[in-house]
């Protein structure tokens, strides 16, 4: 302000001449603060980059997601921060690579029902950060950041929780007869995953055939009941993670078979959410994100999804494992039908949301998320220029601009060992999104620059104990 006055003095401008500018500045700051947009994050489970019609799938119909894209923004280079469930969700909620929170491991890739660890109380979740600025918060759907009470959503800033605490394929109950025969792989009799409300199990096994419908109902109820203050809704579908389930109304309706039915029910759900926002007059003040936790699970044949033209899928640090079909919708703010090729990550949803809400991004720790407002509002480039690709605690690959270098590769599944590359394998992802043509030899200076960036990134990592290796106390 001092400097401002000085400038006025020096330029001998009469301050009143600047009054209109002052009003505009004040208004825009106030408008931004006053608005405090509602935030909805819809997160699919194991959905592939190529599984939506608006991302090129030939037979899955997603009219509501297509409409969301037509009214909003489509990201073509948007990443989750891990190729599997638990670390990816930790990053989404904390804006930090999972290696910073201990939510990854080289021994167990995700949390299991026999895990005793979870997301630490010291982490600041998006729910906590938004709650601090006056938001109501709800988590509906799959959690997978620890099923013990101290790790559940209600211990992490969410006012309420309705959903399953881990993956829908955990807690299998095997056929009794077959279980006795040791050498036979027991067939699943039923999936015993619990359904919880807040910290209580309310149904076990959860009836998964109606789960997408019930999540949607809960989400709509929360939206309708929370209009006196801004809200944050995290709607994390259990599907299309195997085993696949869908409502009776969707049975055998998709050309893509069971997997298609499941995606089309999620699409229906998105339509319901957006329609509710329109009906309630909230559409101009609610930013809705749609993304997925990781790529398609390719070991399940027709019951697994497709990464489109991207290489590999879930579990892998090739593009198919971590690039997600992502949409952002905010009528009146995001230009309708826009497509961005700027880089983004689920971690950026954390930072962007807090900035838009006028909240505080934690300053006592490294936050990897950046503010994507400029991309959303069409005012500038993405501040994100880099992306690290971790498998457990291993930094496998690093992207800088359009270039991605793989230091270590390994197929998502199977016994093939980790393979180190000297020099790294290099791809120009915008020319060659399928990671087919190694151009390392022709670009030594790019390799050098990526190595330097990766080293700088690694220097910012402080070792913390893994939460995924802690066993459940009995």
């Amino acid at each position: 302000m001092k400097q401002f006055a000085l400038i006025l003095y020096k330029t001998k401008f009469h301050p009143f001449l600047l009054f209109p500018l002052f009003v505009i500045c004040t208004l825009s700051t106030e408008a931004r603060a006053a608005a405090k947009p509602n935030v909805i994050v819809i997160y699919a489970d194991d959905l592939g980059y190529g599984d939506l019609a608006c991302f090129g799938h030939p037979t899955i119909k997603t009219p509501h997601l297509d409409q969301m894209a037509a009214e909003g923004m489509k990201f073509t280079q948007f990443y989750s921060a891990a190729p599997v469930c638990t670390p990816s969700r930790a990053a989404l909620l904390t804006g930090r690579y999972p290696i910073r929170s201990g939510m990854c491991s080289d021994k167990r890739r995700v949390l299991f029902p026999d895990s005793g660890g979870g997301l630490q109380a010291s982490e600041v979740t998006l729910a906590e950060a938004l709650k601090e600025t006056g938001y109501k918060t709800a988590c509906v759907g799959k959690w997978h950041l620890g099923h013990l009470p101290q790790f559940l959503p209600t211990s992490h800033g969410f006012d309420s929780y309705f959903g399953i605490p881990y993956s829908n394929d955990m807690d299998r109950v095997a056929e009794r007869k077959l279980r006795r025969k040791i050498f036979l792989k027991p067939k699943v009799e039923y999936w015993n995953v619990p359904l919880m409300r807040n910290q209580e199990v309310i149904e076990r096994p959860a009836d998964q055939t109606t789960i997408t419908k019930r999540y949607t109902k809960e989400a709509i109820k929360f939206i309708k009941g929370n209009q006196k203050q801004p809200f944050y809704l995290y709607l994390a579908h259990s599907m299309p993670h195997v085993p696949l389930f869908r409502s009776k109304a969707l049975e055998d309706t998709s050309r893509r078979g069971l997997y298609g039915d499941v995606i089309e029910e999620i699409d229906w759900s998105v339509g319901q959410i957006l329609q509710t926002l329109k009906d309630q007059g909230l559409d101009q003040n609610t930013i809705v994100w749609f993304s997925s936790d990781n790529g398609p699970w390719l070991i399940f044949n027709e019951q697994g999804g497709s990464a489109g033209l991207l290489r590999e899928g879930k579990g892998s640090t090739w593009e198919g494992g971590m690039r997600e079909p992502t949409l952002a919708w905010w009528p009146g703010h995001i230009s309708s039908g826009s497509v961005t090729h700027e880089l983004g990550s689920t971690m950026d949803i954390f930072t962007t949301s807090i900035q838009l809400a006028g909240g505080k991004v934690p300053s006592d720790r490294v936050v990897d998320g950046v503010d994507l407002s400029s991309v959303l509002l069409g005012t500038g480039e993405s501040p994100r220029k880099e992306m690290a690709f971790y498998r457990g605690t291993k930094l496998m690959a690093f992207r800088k601009g359009p270039w991605k270098a793989h230091f270590i590769t390994k197929p998502a599944y199977g016994r093939e060992p980790f393979k180190e590359h000297h020099p790294p394998v290099l791809y120009h992802l915008e020319h060659d999104p399928s990671e087919k043509y190694d151009v390392a030899k022709a670009n030594p200076e790019v390799i050098k620059s990526i190595k330097a960036a990766a080293e700088k990134h690694q220097q910012s990592i402080k070792p913390v104990p893994s939460q995924l290796e802690i066993p459940l106390k009995k």
Copy 2:
């Protein structure tokens, strides 16, 4: 009419009661006849299923083709009738599998500058069929159905021709010094492909850097100059067949590199064509098709395209070789933003166009094209339920409904021999568009049904001499 009178008599209805119905019938027949829509077929060369933004490419920008899709219809299961150039174009123009016209061979897959054969005068092209009902016709672009005068467009029903007679990579002039060293593969000094107007060579080598722009200019000139009668324009781009060229204005403008520049210039061209139609008030009476002759040429690294989630590319009878990114545009007739999963083929453009023009589909020979009007107008299913996949004269695979059986497979390139499959390899293409999961064992009855359909198809084939094996007389 006799029967109509009889019905009126028998039902004792007063004829005047039926007058409104009569008027409607007459009008719709008349309207259809009077309309005689203009037909434009824009055909790309080696463009992959995944190379347009509206088909899911992450970094190639195709705003005009996306707009064409948004205003028209996108086909997600539309096939060329061959995985390489010459036979594919023969099928497009005759509505017949190339094996019927002799425009395929197991020795030479396409025509070359040293070929003496071409499309026979006995074949009826779309240009001839439409000309007969009063259309003006023009061919602009790559021909590749014979470069001798008797085979050129002007000998096949086109009033005019401007373009190159075969592929842009034929007629290479090698570096003189290197040519002497027999064991060194000579480097290309320049591409000597001629540019023709009607039957005259007007430029050699054709300046390919401006070729897309010049094709566009010619096409627009034809549209503007032919509004007194209906017209048919066949605009066959030389690009993105390698070697890749684009205008100065497009140089290094695409995130996808050179290949992206080239596609984005084709996209620009499409925009120019559609805008011209709108400006001239012809949009409601012109049906525009956009498709490609075959899949992407995958042996050219970053200079080859992408088939998206489809398997393999040009030269192969896997989906990537023959499924094409296809759009149809006809404002006021085709519902805007429609997506069809119905089957279609470039051969159907022949039959559909003639039907819409009120012309005569040849009845003295087998025509494989079907009338897709019902799909375009949203009134019914596609009459196409089957598709044959030929490599040269070999029936490699056959699709019936969503199922495709491969009787023989072979990679597009390389020395791997033809591999016969007993039973055939079977894919459910709507569940598994990437042809990953062979489901032959579980579906013997499907195999039986496809085999019967393929045999029936093969019985309709009469052997004709191959035009591709005839040498040029010197």
